[in-house]
């Protein structure tokens, strides 16, 4: 509905406002706004609740924004409201939600299976390719987390037969103390545990604390998705072997860029360079845009990241 050249109003709706991850994403959104002059902002609910996101998007629709980019807590829960948005010619760009149907595009930093396998490789390396391990997901319903660990477990079965998963996926509720308590229980129940793969940013931190307290530093390999600002102390002291993430700021910029392109009637194509590091040669699969944007951080390069 906007005339060409007019400034777009693009709002990014995140899972949860205020946490380090999405604060970093907001930096990207702000940077994008500054560079392009578009009216790009970020909002998010105070609790990671799908219903609150639905309400927020309803409000955005009522406000008549041009585009919504969204990191859903529960992709399925958002479908109806996103459909409503699309029906009003609002551009919708998703992130961490490759299953979303009612989107213009979905931006993924990488292919989830590849990322999960990558984490498994790192853990297997730390464990010397054998021993017992466990996996955490933030919520049993979190699709991305499940894709990561599912791919990881599949890879382990075929490539590392000497490794053994001790119990089904453990839910941390994205809460550090829960991850801590569950790790304690794991260590008690499976004293030979040698590896832990985390999914939510808090998982590795909770696990690391439990491992440190149990005096098992160096004996248990912990890898997972997290941020330096959250897990830095444990990277440094050695409980956590490696963390990976994609830079949420970059994801924020890309989402906004893609949204603006859609508003201006431009198409994203396979192999395109979106002008952001890690998204220089994107892969297009239907509406889903994959980058190669994961970042590995160990004790050695942690100084380079301040978020």
């Amino acid at each position: 509905t906007n005339a060409q050249g007019a400034k777009h109003t693009i709002v990014t709706v995140v899972k949860l406002s205020g946490i380090a991850w999405f604060n970093r994403m907001e930096e990207g959104v702000k940077q994008y706004a500054k560079e392009t002059g578009n009216n790009a902002t970020q909002v998010g609910p105070a609790t990671a609740d799908a219903a609150l996101q639905v309400q927020m998007i309803e409000d955005l629709i009522a406000r008549g924004v041009n585009a919504v980019t969204v990191v859903p807590n529960s992709p399925e829960a958002l479908e109806p409201v996103l459909q409503k948005a699309l029906s009003r010619n609002i551009v919708v760009v998703g992130h961490e939600a490759s299953s979303l149907k009612n989107v213009t595009y979905d931006v993924e930093a990488f292919n989830n299976a590849a990322y999960g396998e990558h984490l498994m490789e790192a853990m297997a390396k730390g464990m010397g390719g054998k021993g017992e391990y466990a996996v955490f997901v933030g919520h049993l319903t979190a699709k991305t987390h499940n894709e990561w660990v599912d791919a990881a477990m599949t890879l382990q079965k075929s490539k590392y037969p000497d490794m053994k998963l001790v119990t089904s996926k453990i839910e941390s509720n994205e809460n550090q103390q829960t991850a801590y308590q569950k790790t304690k229980e794991l260590l008690r129940t499976y004293p030979n545990l040698k590896g832990i793969q985390g999914s939510a940013g808090e998982d590795v931190v909770g696990a690391a604390l439990a491992v440190e307290e149990a005096g098992l530093t160096g004996k248990v390999t912990i890898v997972g998705t997290s941020l330096v600002s959250v897990s830095g102390p444990y990277l440094e002291s050695g409980e956590i072997s490696m963390i990976s993430f994609w830079d949420p700021a970059k994801a924020g910029i890309v989402m906004n860029k893609v949204a603006a392109m859609a508003l201006e009637g431009k198409k994203v194509e396979d192999g395109m360079d979106l002008g952001v590091e890690g998204y220089n040669k994107v892969k297009l699969d239907g509406k889903v845009i994959y980058g190669q944007a994961w970042v590995d951080v160990t004790k050695d390069n942690m100084k380079d990241y301040n978020f």
């Binding site: 406000r63 829960a77 479908e79």
Partner: protein, 339 residues
């Protein structure tokens, strides 16, 4: 006697309503599109599930009990109904679906009722227990996956709208047909509470259980019935939720207990029992919903919502009491000194 405005202000509903209006005015100032049918319709739509739950809760509060398990009942009824229908590929009219939901809700409510009314256990503890129990049973026995392919009837129903308004920006705002569920439940509950013996018995029990027993009210039976009814209402809320979301999410609803109770208490019910009206409850729900969903429109950062909700809850209950004191004080001073 108390003057008009003072009287309005000295009831919680009064304060809440006025604060809500003031608040709406501020919103309207900061965003002129606020005062529109579209906003109103949106508000009504957003208060739907909370409203249905709240009606069940106010009945329990009026009887002197408290219920925190209703969200778990709603979620259980919702998920079980959809699972049943999809598993067997049953296709029944929407009224039947609501009926099943209400039945499941009533059955779970019966458990509460038997524990509270039959065994005479304290209501908070029972419903804390069943909140955990029902939720756990749902996730353990029924499943944890979202059911996105809900029966065709539900999709059709959720597409049926009651009111369709076009707003200034040319967007369509619609009130779903399921709004009638809230209207129906509210009407029935109001009639039940004010127009039937059963309703008066509820208030009597809330006033004094011992006294109710002494005048021959079968307190146990009434209590069991209250929880069955409020369970059925929670079940209806669950089905309403599924018609809004068009999918059954077993993790849904749970967590909104305190929010609903806050709305009910803002509407004038007391946790000590014996008080509470359906109309007041609906006002409370509307206000809470307005705050929770409209601050964003005014460009208020989202955490501010909590601050505002908190202040409003305290004001809504505190102001009437403070004003009442002040009025009495003035009245006393106004009397002639000689008798």
């Amino acid at each position: 006697m108390t003057s008009g405005p003072m009287r309005v202000l000295s009831s919680p509903q009064g304060v809440v309503t006025i604060t809500a209006f003031a608040f709406a005015l501020i919103l309207a100032l900061s965003n002129p599109t606020f005062f529109s049918t579209a906003t109103l319709v949106d508000l009504a739509r957003n208060s739907l599930v909370t409203g249905i739950f709240a009606i069940g809760v106010v009945m329990v509060l009026a009887s002197g009990g408290i219920d925190v398990s209703f969200t778990a009942i709603g979620a259980f009824a919702m998920y079980a109904t959809i699972k049943l229908l999809t598993a067997y590929g049953i296709n029944i009219p929407i009224a039947g679906i609501f009926g099943i939901g209400a039945l499941i809700g009533a059955a779970l409510g019966l458990i509460n009722g038997l524990l509270v009314g039959g065994l005479g256990l304290p209501t908070l503890i029972v419903t804390l227990g069943t909140l955990s129990l029902f939720r756990g049973a749902l996730l353990t026995f029924l499943g944890t996956v979202y059911i996105t392919t809900v029966p065709r009837e539900i999709i059709t129903f959720s597409r049926t709208v009651l009111v369709r308004v076009e707003n200034a920006a040319g967007q369509i705002v619609s009130l779903p047909f399921s709004y009638l569920v809230l209207v129906g439940v509210a009407l029935l509950a109001a009639i039940l509470m004010n127009g039937t013996m059963f309703g008066r018995k509820i208030y009597a029990i809330g006033g004094s259980e011992e006294a109710a027993t002494r005048i021959g009210i079968n307190v146990r039976r009434v209590k069991v019935m209250i929880y069955v009814i409020s369970g059925a209402i929670a079940g209806l809320a669950g089905i309403t939720q599924v018609t809004l979301a068009r999918m059954a999410n077993p993790f849904d609803l749970v967590g909104m207990e305190l929010n609903v109770i806050a709305a009910v208490v803002l509407g004038g019910a007391r946790i000590t029992g014996g008080h509470g009206t359906i109309a007041g409850t609906l006002i409370g729900v509307f206000v809470i919903t307005m705050i929770n969903t409209s601050l964003l429109m005014a460009g208020v950062p989202s955490y501010w919502q909590k601050v505002v909700v908190g202040i409003l809850i305290v004001l809504g209950t505190g102001l009437p009491i403070a004003i009442d004191r002040y009025v009495r004080h003035r009245e006393r001073l106004a009397r002639p000194l000689s008798a």
